[in-house]
Each structure stands twice: as C-alpha cells, then as structure tokens.
Amino acid sequence: MNFKIASSPHTHVRRKTPAVMLFVAIACLPGIAVQTWYFGIGTLVQICLAILAAVAAEAACLKMRQRSVLPRLKDNSALLTGLLLGISVPPLAQWWVVVIGAIFAIVIAKQIYGGLGQNLFNPAMVGYVVLLVSFPLSMTLWVPPLSLVEYPVTVQDTLMLIFTGYSETGFSLAQLRVDLDGYTMATPLDTVKTALTNQQTYQEILNQKVFSEGTGIAWFEVNLAYLLGGLFLLQQKIINWRIPVAFLLTLTLFSFILHSASPDGSASTILHLFSGATMFAAFFILTDPVSASTTAKGRLIYGALVAVLVFLIRNFGGYPEGIAFAVLLANMAVPLIDYYSQPKTYGK
C-alpha cells in the first residue's frame, strides 16, 4: 500500500478564482444590456474589442515572461479587465482608443507588476485614466441616448464610426452628438459641471434634456441595472458588503450635506448616486480584490476614502466624473490602510 502525501486541509471549497471572475462578469450583464439598449450596439463592440485586446496582451506578456500561457489566461482575469474597461469607454469611440487602453491596462498596470495578484492599481482604471488623460476628446464623446439622437444610428453606422471615425452617411461623431434640438449632448455630470461653472443654478440645469425628474435619462436605468448585478454578487458572497456600502453611504452623506447647504450650486444626492459610474464603480470597480483593501476595517476606510475623493473631484475638481482617479489614489493608500487596520488577533 502506498499513500499519497498531501497537506491539510484535505477538502476545499469548490469555487475557484476563474469562477469568481466569471461571476463578476456575469453580474455585469444586466448593466451592459441596459447600456446597449440606450446607447446602441457600440457598447458591445467596445467590450469585445477591449476583451480581445486585453487577452491578447496578456498572452503576449505571459509568453515574453516565459510563463505558461493557457492556464493563466483561464483565470479569466484579463477577460474581466477588458470587460470593465470596455464598459467604461464611450460606445462610439474609435477602435484604437479602447485597444490602447486595454493594452496599457494589461501590460503596464498588471504584467509589469508581476501579473495577477501583484498589481498595485486597478488595471481597468489605469487603462481608463491613461485614455482619459491622453485622448480627452474621444473619451468625453458620449452620444446622447438613442431616443434623443437626431440622426438614427444604425449598426452599420456604429461599426463604421468605431473603425473609421465616420458613419456610413459621412457624419463624424461630433456631429452625431447633436441631439434632436440641435444641442450638443454630454453626460449629465458633464452638463452639470459645465453649467455650474457658467453660473447656472442647479434647478435650471435640471430643465435640460439630458435630465428627467432629477436624474439623467438612461443613466438612472443603467445605474439601477448595475446595482442589481451588484446585489447578485453580494448575495453570492463574491464580494464583501463593506466596500460598496461604505462608498455609497459616504457619497450620500457628503452630497447630501453639500446639496443641503447650497441647493443651487451642487448636484443632488440622487444625481450623485444614479449617474455617471457610481453604481458600476461601487460594485465592480472598487471591489476588485487585488487592488482593494482586505481587512474588515480597511474596506470601510477604503470605500469611504474613494467616496470622499469622488465627491471632491466631482464638485471641486477639473473633471466631471472622478471615480477612476479616486480609485487609483485610494489604491495607493491601500497598503497603508491595510497595515493600520489589522484586526485584533485572538488573545492579543
């Protein structure tokens, strides 16, 4: 009789890393569906492009680093990074934008640090920030929801726009951004930011077409869908409740205080919570395990820190949306947070 030698424990939970990643991707689906519904097929194209680029970049890097390629690709982490980046990019941005972003995310933000588990920063957000900084024009060209577009954008148009820069009928993206009434559209947060700097009051802003009943058209629904996906993740115990809850509560608190103090000069709490990437970030970006805090207390601090930074950037910074920057800044603080938020060991 010969026996195999192994280390205890001899039994394991059957949920592996690839499955965890896949679960997160699946939880994104409702949000993607709603986004596609409102903004057109471009979203899906961007996601596909991003995933392809990310996986290809990952494979190339692993090959160069002389690591086994296939087993590591199978952990689905590159797929998830691509997916998250694809969701964040404007649906009709040109193809090379998202490809550069994905490559940057995988090569610079992940593989150079040593691959999965070693990266200090959230790769998808690094990719996004690089794009935002490098191509501010492309990255802010969010088309208005399809229902508001003057010229209908067909699938062919979308593909043409993404791959050549011009629609079938020869319109550029900038032209397409003009809505039915001839105004150039921007995202709700963008609109708020611009208008507030132009000394308009918040109530006046709300009368603009991108808004309906205090929230942005389409954006409210998109956020709701991501919230749904997030709740699914929570229910499956894939993510811990602490980060999203701390994040959303802090954001609510701060925006409520500011909005109460100056109702004309700041966006409402509802707008903060249900526009931009708030829900998407709360459940899918902040909870990226590798770059987030891992202690119980640390997670609360981390979530709250991101919320504070987002609030500050949105209200007082140069960008209308600040989640990507906030996440990267908080990522930097994670080792410190983790160090000082160690739980009390039993018996100490």
Partner: protein, 702 residues
C-alpha cells in the same frame, strides 16, 4: 467570574469570528455501536505519543508482557508511560514509523501478540474522594492518560495547575467533518464519562462544568443530559455547528466570551478544557486501574465499506484495522489520520494508531479531490473572513512565501492554530496552512540556530582568552627557566654536563616528534631494517600500522600489552625498556604530541638511549614508526595491490563483512607461533592491517 458563570448558566452563547461550514459527512459513521476488531498479530507502541519528552523503555527484547503492563518509565513531569496493548512478547525495540505527518521514525516497542489477551494486575481507586489529589494524579500519570482530543497533552499536568480553576469545559464539540468518535462514546458511555468528569472536577474543584456538544449530535446530547441530570454543577451546553468550534480557544470564546491570552493557556483565565474521551479514560484509569491502551477511532470515508467507530488498541498498525473495516484502496489514495481539515496523510500502512488518533479517513478518488495547482493570490480576503483567530492569512502567506519571517511574526503568525479554514475557502487553492507550518518550523529552527551561534561565539571567545593566557604563562615560564639556567651556569661549571644531557634529550625529543621528516626516510630505512625477518609485504603491513590502529581489537590488545610493557619497564634493563617504550608509544598511535608530552621523561630518555645503542633492532623500530606515520598520512587513497596482500585480505572478503574481527585474528594468531617473542607486535600489526584493508575494500565496494 461569578456573574460570568451566571451568564453561562443562563444559556447565553458568544460567537467567534470567521469559521467555515464544510460538508459534515458524519452520517457515514454516525450510526451503530462501537465495534471491536480482532486482535492484530503485531503491535507497534511508539514511546512518544504525546507532547513532552519521550520516556525510557523499561522492558527488553524477549520479555513477556501482559496486557496493560507498563512498557516505559516516566520519570519527569512531562513524560508519560506507554502500556502493552495486549499480552505477548517484545520482539524488538527499534525505530519505527510514527503517527506523525513527517513519516519519520522514533523508538518503538514491537510486541508480538500471543492471542490470550491476558490482563496484568489492575488496581482501581474506588474511594478516590478520600485520597489526596497527588495520589490520584499519580495514578492518572502512571496509567498514561493523555488528552485524546488532538495534541495529547498529559492529563495529570492539566489537572494539577496551581491556579484556581473556575470552569471545567468538557469538549464534545467534535467539529471536524467525518469524525464521530466522541459522538459514539457519548452515546454509549455517557455515565462513565460523567463519572470521569467527576474525578477531573474533584481534582480541579471548578465551580462549574460545561459539557459542550455541537447541535449536530442530538443523540449524544440527550445521552449526556440524561447522565448528568443528577449533577448540579454539570451542565450540557449545545453549541451551533461551525468549524472550528471544537478548537480549544474557539470553544472557550463561544462558551465564555473570553479569549485565552496569546501564548498562554486556558488555565491563565481560570479555565481547563478536557475532551470527553479523556474524561472516559480517566474514569477507566482511576476506577478500574486500566491504562490507556485503547481508544475509539472513527474509520470512515467512501473507500471503507464498514465505516463506523471501533475500539482500537493503541499501537495497532492501521493496515490491520483497515482490513477489518473492509478497505479497498483506490489507485492513488490518501489515507488521512484525523479529520479532513487538520488531519495528516500517513505514509505507511504500518503506521501505528497513537493516543491522539481519533479518525482514519480513507476517501474515495473523487470524494476529497487533490488540490489543483496553486494559483496567484488575488487578495480576495475570503481567508481573512474565515479565520477564527482574526488573522490576515493573505499577509501571512505573502511573507511566509517570501521568507520574510520577521514580518510574518509581526502579523502574529504564531497565533495561527492551523485549523485550515483559510486554505479551505481559498479560491486559488493555495496550501496556506502548509506555508505557515514551514514558516513556523523555519523560524523555530532559526531561533535555535541563533541561540547556538551565540553560545558558540561565547565559547570561542572564552577559548581564545584561555589560549592567550596559557601562552603568556608559557612565555613567563620559559623566561624564568632561562634565567635560572644562566644563574646555575655562572655558579657551577660542572653544569656543562647537564647541558650536554639536556641537548641530547632535546634532540631525542625532536627525533621522536618530527614525523614528517621521518616520512621521507622511512621507506628506505624500513626495507633495510626489516630485511632480516620481514619480507616486503610484511614491511608494507607494518607500514599501515596507523590503519591497524583503527580497529578495536588491535587497539585493545596493543593497549593491554603496552600497559604491561610499561609496567615492565621499571624492572627490566634500560635498553629493553627503551625499546618497549618506543613501541608502546608507536602503537599508541602516532599520537605525535600526546606521546611526546606524556611519555616525556621516559620517552625522551629512551629515545636518546636508542640512538646511543645503535642496534639493528632499534633502527627497525624507528623505521616501523616512521613508516606507520607515512602510511597514515597517505591514507585510504593508496591501494597496494600486492599479491601477498591480497592473500591476507582474501579470507576477510569471503567472510561476513560485519564480523571481520574474529576472522582476521585467526590467520594472525597462526603466524604468531612462527615468530619470535619480540615480534608479536608485527603480527598484531599485520592483523590490524588486514582489517583496515578489509574495511577500505568494503567502503570502496559501497
């Protein structure tokens, strides 16, 4: 504490952080009576089965022992004796594989059962309430009772704490999946367990005894409640099922909300915890005088057809009970001693069951699949959520893997109880616990090495100091001697003679000492000198005197004779003495300095005399000595393939290599007769040479 006891009595339960809920799988073995397998033919009783020191065996090979007879003697507090599991004959005491994850061996007494299973004399302490605690403790110790829960801590030590104990917890939680040994014991022997608890509490005088049982053992709970109904200080407390509730520290937290201080023991906060099985064996020991020679072992897993609980004698090889329980080994099976969370896989079917073996788990191929390859840690933190000690396993892993042990200790590595909850939940299947174990072992090793290095440094420095002092003293002495000489020279002209003498002596000493110089001259001289009696192989044989010395018999003989010759020295005439002395010195082994120093006066003189006498014999002696040294230096590498030599070696090679000595002696002694009295030495040398050669050949052959 009183209010705490009140809270405990009220039924309030605390909770500990973390924990996991692995599949229970207890139903495999939960039903049915505890079975008794047939006797095995051989038992392997390891001398060390518990925490603490190993006790010395007190039986010898060939002894007949009766069941329950003490096999080893425990002298110190931390030792525990072991007892014969059945009657039979001690066939061997040697290293045998131990019930330990390393699969290494320790001293083990092997008993061949005679089948009669006859008890030795037993003596119980029926009236233990009237006896002093020390006597009861002594009984418990001498009958080898140890904690049967996990670590095997000697029970008599736990129960003789000097601190006041408020609370005695009887651990019947049995939180590991698969295991039902305690469950079965509680179901069948509840009354005996309660009796054992009474004995334990008689020693501790705790205010309250809590029997903690997980809620997945309803029958055991019922049985224990029934048995303890009359005892007003004993309560049965049902705790929720969660792994590792049965861990000592975790159970204390659940029942009392208190935490055992890091690095401390429960007694520090007035609590003692004993396993139910320990209580039972305490009862058997104190009341019936039965030593701890058997325990309940759960045999379970899908590879075992008759899974269930068995009374297994300690020392039974697992192969025996596995056969009894109907084990079909899968192609690449693991056999786990203990549960699936904390048990270890054993190496050999001859591994004996020890006092701490509560389960033998033989899973089928896909029942507990082997972990896949370790993947990158994604810092998901599931492990931190599962850790019952509130550690950060991912940080510990990080630092353990990078061998940054100081940082790992900073994250309280040593508070890890190795429960395996973190590795259980890890989605990347990292063997976290293994990393911690290696790190802990390395840290301990490092600490031991540092301590040793510190000691070595101190000793080295002390030595340097001493040598320096000695050197100073020597210089001082020489200076004084020189001064004295000068004085006497001036005073007495006749001292010239003395100086001449001293010079001669000095020269002689030098001659006897300078082996290296002699080396060159040796071969030539030796051939000439030994012409008369020794042919060339013989002289070569003499040359290997050093090698000869390497053998015991020769050395002993030489010793005796040298002694004798030394004794003779005083009586016989000077010339002879000198020769004998020189021979003795040589035989004593090229001990250059020792010989020179020790033999000082006589040897010096003899050497001087030897020079003066200038006889052929003396020359021969010298040559022999020189040759011997030469050979010794050249050592093993040189192989003389002389035909004559081969003859000498031949018989040895044919004989059993393990016992070359007698074989060698024979031809040697045969030759002795032909030789003159004076040359019995050369004969001895030859014998020794032969042995040395044989040994060298053996080594070469290896």
């Amino acid at each position: 504490m009183d209010s705490l006891i009140k809270t405990i009595k009220s039924g309030y339960l605390w909770r500990f952080p973390g924990g996991v809920h692995p599949p229970q799988k207890k139903s495999l073995s939960q039903t049915g009576q505890i079975k008794r397998p047939e006797l095995a033919s051989k038992y392997y009783v390891s001398l060390k089965q518990h925490i603490g020191q190993q006790a010395e065996a007190c039986v010898q090979v060939g002894d007949k022992v009766k069941k329950g007879q003490m096999l080893s003697r425990a002298d110190t507090a931390m030792q525990l004796p072991v007892h014969a599991p059945t009657s039979g004959i001690v066939t061997d005491i040697r290293e045998h594989i131990l019930a330990h994850p390393s699969g290494l061996g320790e001293q083990t007494i092997i008993i061949e059962a005679d089948g009669s299973d006859e008890w030795c004399q037993r003596e119980g302490l029926d009236n233990y309430q009237q006896l002093p605690p020390a006597q009861i403790l002594d009984k418990i110790k001498s009958l080898g009772v140890a904690g049967l829960g996990g670590a095997g801590f000697p029970t008599h030590i736990k129960n003789s704490r000097p601190e006041a104990i408020e609370l005695l917890i009887i651990n019947g939680a049995e939180c590991e999946p698969y295991i039902t040994a305690d469950d079965a014991l509680m179901r069948e022997h509840a009354a005996d367990i309660v009796a054992g608890i009474n004995i334990l509490n008689h020693l501790l005088e705790a205010k309250l005894v809590v029997i903690a049982i997980e809620d997945n053992k309803p029958e055991a709970i019922k049985a224990m409640e029934l048995a303890s109904a009359d005892e007003k200080d004993i309560i049965v407390r049902v705790v929720p099922t969660k792994y590792p509730t049965g861990g000592e520290k975790q159970l204390i937290q659940v029942l009392t909300g208190k935490e055992v201080p890091s690095g401390g023991i429960p007694a520090d906060i007035g609590i003692v915890m004993q396993n139910v099985a320990t209580a039972y064996s305490t009862y058997r020991a104190v009341i019936h005088g039965e030593p701890l020679i058997e325990r309940v072992v759960t045999l379970t897993g899908e590879s075992i057809s008759q899974a269930g609980n068995y009374w297994v004698r300690i020392g039974t090889p697992v192969a025996h009970i596995l056969t009894q329980a109907g084990y079909n080994q899968p192609a690449e099976g693991r056999l786990i001693m203990g549960g699936p969370m904390m048990g270890f896989s054993i190496h050999s079917p001859l591994t004996p069951v020890s006092k701490i073996t509560n389960c033998l788990l033989a899973p089928a191929m896909n029942e507990l699949p082997d972990p896949a390859d370790e993947q990158a840690c994604i810092r998901c933190g599931y492990c931190a959520d599962a850790c019952p000690a509130s550690l950060l396993p991912q940080q510990l892993y990080w630092h353990s893997k990078a061998r940054e042990y100081e940082k790992a200790q900073h994250f309280d590595l040593f508070d890890c109880i190795e429960c395996g909850a973190c590795a259980y939940v890890c989605p990347s299947e990292i063997p976290l616990v293994q990393y911690y174990r290696v790190a802990k072992a390395n840290i301990r090793q490092q600490a031991a090495e540092n301590e040793k290095a510190e000691k070595a440094k101190e000793r080295f420095n002390q030595r340097q100091l001493r040598l320096e002092e000695e050197k100073q003293a020597r210089i001082e002495k020489q200076r004084l001697a020189a001064e004295k000489r000068k004085q006497t020279m001036q005073e007495d002209a006749s001292a010239k003679d003395k100086i001449a003498q001293a010079l001669a002596r000095a020269q002689a000493q030098k001659a006897s000492r300078s082996t290296d110089q002699a080396k060159e001259q040796a071969p030539a001289q030796s051939t000439i000198a030994s012409d008369s009696k020794n042919n060339s192989p013989k002289s070569a044989a003499q040359a290997a005197i050093a090698r000869a010395k390497a053998k015991k018999a020769a050395a002993q003989k030489a010793d005796n004779e040298a002694m004798q010759s030394a004794a003779d020295t005083d009586q016989s005439d000077i010339e002879k003495t000198a020769k004998e002395k020189a021979q003795a010195a040589i035989a004593r082994a090229k001990a250059k300095k020792a010989a020179a120093q020790k033999a000082d006066n006589e040897a010096m003189q003899s050497a001087a005399d030897t020079k003066q006498s200038d006889t052929g014999k003396t020359a021969k002696e010298k040559a022999q000595a020189a040759i011997a040294r030469a050979k010794a230096k050249k050592a093993a590498a040189q192989k003389v393939d002389n035909g004559e030599h081969a003859n000498v070696v031949e018989p040895i090679e044919q004989s059993d290599p393990k016992t070359p000595e007698p074989t060698v002696d024979k031809p040697a002694s045969g030759e002795t007769n032909q030789m003159s009295q004076q040359d019995d030495k050369s004969q001895r040398i030859k014998a020794a040479i032969a042995k040395a050669k044989a040994k060298r050949k053996q080594l070469g052959g290896d």
